[in-house]
Symmetry: C2
Subunit: 448 residues, 2 copies
């Protein structure tokens, strides 16, 4: 796992007890990109899919159900043991898809918490904007999973990703379920990560192990997402599994807080999906009970946060057409909310993103984005750094700055941009990628 | 003047008394694009710069002061007679440029309203983010104009557009002032429109004449702008002249209201300039007094609104890399504000804009944009039309719709997209253009 960004480094230093899953040649489950698939993003973490720790109680299977893709699996099934605590976060879109609404209901109601649980995901069809038909398809799929696995329907969570506006051929998923169930394997994360891909150029995984009360607790997560969210192609889906013993309420609060510092801090194009779903399943098969406010809760949250931030960054690294990863850190705002406004205004500005693509140290566009953000700012207190180089201060270009310094820095693949507003203590960090010809090519040149 | 959009047609029908300036072969002041300049936008209004009506009391001159460009004028001076009422609207950016702040002060204080007035504009340098030096440059320029023209400094308004972060070479403007003043000509709008261009591919003008109390009142406006706002290249500047006799307060209120329905309804890339400035000068040399609430006030506002909307659309038509003009009309929202939120979410979505560029009738991306807008929406009440074709209704694709219908419609250069939310009476219209390879090329491939 390569976490070069400063926020992550700080997080890692606090996290001495956590052994991070290693991305490397020793990966147990190498997942090669399809020979005919798109070129792997230049920002993909080196070394392929990481070697994730086994998570007790988690069984996974994948299959090609024939929904849309040929020659690759397109359905993933996870079966989780009794007493698994389920938590999750979904898109705030007002046009969210049928499986998202179904997940929300099931997370909120938490019926039969002592029963086993299951997650069924398909790629190739998002079952979004499909009217009543969409809800019926979710009912059919989750009923079929319940029938085959013995998991109560109220504990079967589903996601769909792919084209929108087309009825989900749920019969194909149903027909594949007995083969799927027969092939369940412990902790088969690599194949699962690959089965949920749509326009992704590499499968995304991250893991951590953390010592709690002398026992090792494992966390392993997979994600998909490429356009921050291309609704016709899909969206961001994330599934994280842990064998930690943690109650549903504490797990949900922890996941919600960490989401605000990870997945809610990334943007590729500012477009929000109709299908974004993050589910976290804690099987409770390792370590002691994690009590609210305990040292164990802190250690667990830190490890989970590292996995979530890593997965979030992998989504940005696979941003459509991305050639640069940009960390934007805003300090000195009147509030954290204002800092976040400024950071997102910069991250979503087409002019900033095209400047980054062109390796142009165009700090004027950063000034513009600060100005349009709606946050409290005083032009004459503003300072801007590209990496370690101060570019602007006191409302004008820094006397130390020379264009060659910025131009040389911009050639890097991973860039840090810092803006200090000089008026308060609010701060925020977001991550984005550049806006390139390939983004246009992917989204405009070919009919979806 | 070609106003094909439906909103404008409605406005025009109400406006029987107004004779619109004709764009055509008879244009008195043809302004050819520079031979070495960028290719003229395919969306440019046909027939070249329009034949604008003379406006009594307005004298204009342009010159090449050598700030940045060779072989073209880069400074415009307008001198206006005593008692000219000045009104204006400026950018809300918190990092706005020195001349913008100076204009705001002068508009607000309205010192010596009976004196003559002047507007001085340069292209090539935006005098933005230039610290105290920027304010000093504005002082030097406006003092020099005051000295040469006899206009009090408190009535000299200035704008600058071009690169940011570089000190404005104000001495070059000062040195050109006596030649400029010597060459003032009545109503020389075409040359003025050309002198304020930066990345624009065509000069922008619009005019109208309106009968008020049996007399003809003229309105003529010029504008520049190409990226909705590329802050390093400039921004949007608009100067409108009329010989109507109208008080400053009524003029300001009228201009502010009309700006919300014209210039505040366009977007190219959602990026807001540090320099946007609209100034309206009413010389008071034609027609009777226009009193608040009178029929004359309505007639004048309608004519002025037509000119402003026309100029606003010309800015979109010259959007960087634009090949399609898109009118987005949102109806059935709970409020006008919500309708505007939805319309702007669609207009600023990179996925919608790339779909339009690719002639892809991708209504799923429109659903996504509605969902992310933050406006109140019910997926199952949503309807979408591409031009006259209903695409989606009741939360799903319309049974009448076939992909070929949408694909054929998307081939047009000017597109109408309508979204009805089905829950209220709020409505809004905005205009935008597509997002193409040329936008990336203009903003990423070349260093500015």
């Amino acid at each position: 796992m390569r976490l070069s960004r400063s926020e992550l480094r700080r997080q890692q230093r606090r996290l001495a007890r956590v052994r991070l899953g290693l991305r490397g040649a020793a990966a147990a489950e190498p997942v090669a990109p399809a020979a005919d698939g798109p070129k792997v993003s230049p920002l993909a973490p080196p070394g392929g899919f990481p070697d994730l720790p086994p998570v007790k109680g988690v069984r996974l299977a994948t299959i090609n159900s024939g929904i849309r893709y040929k020659g690759r699996d397109d359905v993933m099934l996870a079966v989780l043991p009794p007493d698994t605590a389920m938590a999750g976060v979904t898109t705030r879109s007002s046009t969210r898809a049928a499986p998202v609404l179904d997940c929300e209901d099931k997370l909120a109601m938490a019926v039969e918490p002592g029963a086993p649980a299951a997650i069924i995901v398909n790629a190739g069809n998002a079952n979004a904007f499909t009217g009543r038909n969409g809800q019926e398809a979710v009912d059919h799929v989750t009923s079929a999973v319940a029938a085959v696995t013995g998991v109560p329907k109220s504990r079967v969570f589903s996601s769909s990703t792919g084209v929108i506006g087309q009825p989900l051929p749920w019969e194909r998923i149903a027909a594949a379920l007995s083969s799927l169930t027969a092939s369940l394997e412990d902790s088969a994360f690599g194949h699962a990560a690959r089965a949920i891909m749509t326009t992704d150029t590499f499968p995304k995984g991250a893991g951590a192990s953390v010592e709690i009360g002398g026992e090792t607790v494992a966390i392993a997560g997979i994600a998909k997402g490429s356009g921050m969210i291309a609704p016709d192609m899909g969206t961001m889906l994330v599934y994280i599994f842990t064998d930690a013993r943690i109650g549903r309420d504490l797990l949900q609060r922890t996941v919600s807080e960490l989401t605000d510092r990870s997945f809610n801090c990334i943007t590729v194009d500012g477009d929000t999906s109709t299908s974004d779903t993050l589910l976290v399943a804690a099987t409770g098969q390792a370590g002691p009970d994690i009590a609210e406010g305990s040292e164990a809760a802190t250690a667990f949250a830190e490890a989970l946060g590292t996995v979530m931030t890593d997965l979030a960054l992998q989504v940005v690294r696979d941003g459509e057409g991305a050639t640069k990863l940009l960390e934007i850190r805003v300090t000195g705002a009147v509030s954290a909310e204002d800092a976040r406004k400024v950071a997102l205004a910069i991250a979503n500005s087409p002019l900033v993103k095209t400047a980054v693509a062109g390796e142009d140290p165009n700090w004027g566009r950063v000034v513009m984005a600060v100005g349009k953000s709606g946050a409290v700012a005083d032009r004459d207190l503003l300072s801007i750094w590209f990496g370690p180089h101060v570019v602007a201060e006191n409302g004008w270009v820094s006397p130390e700055y020379r264009e060659e310094i910025g131009a040389a820095y911009m050639k890097r693949a991973e860039l840090e941009l810092r803006v200090d507003l000089g008026i308060g203590h609010g701060h925020a960090t977001v991550w984005t990628c550049d806006l390139t010809h390939d983004y246009i090519r992917i989204n405009a040149d070919y009919r979806s």
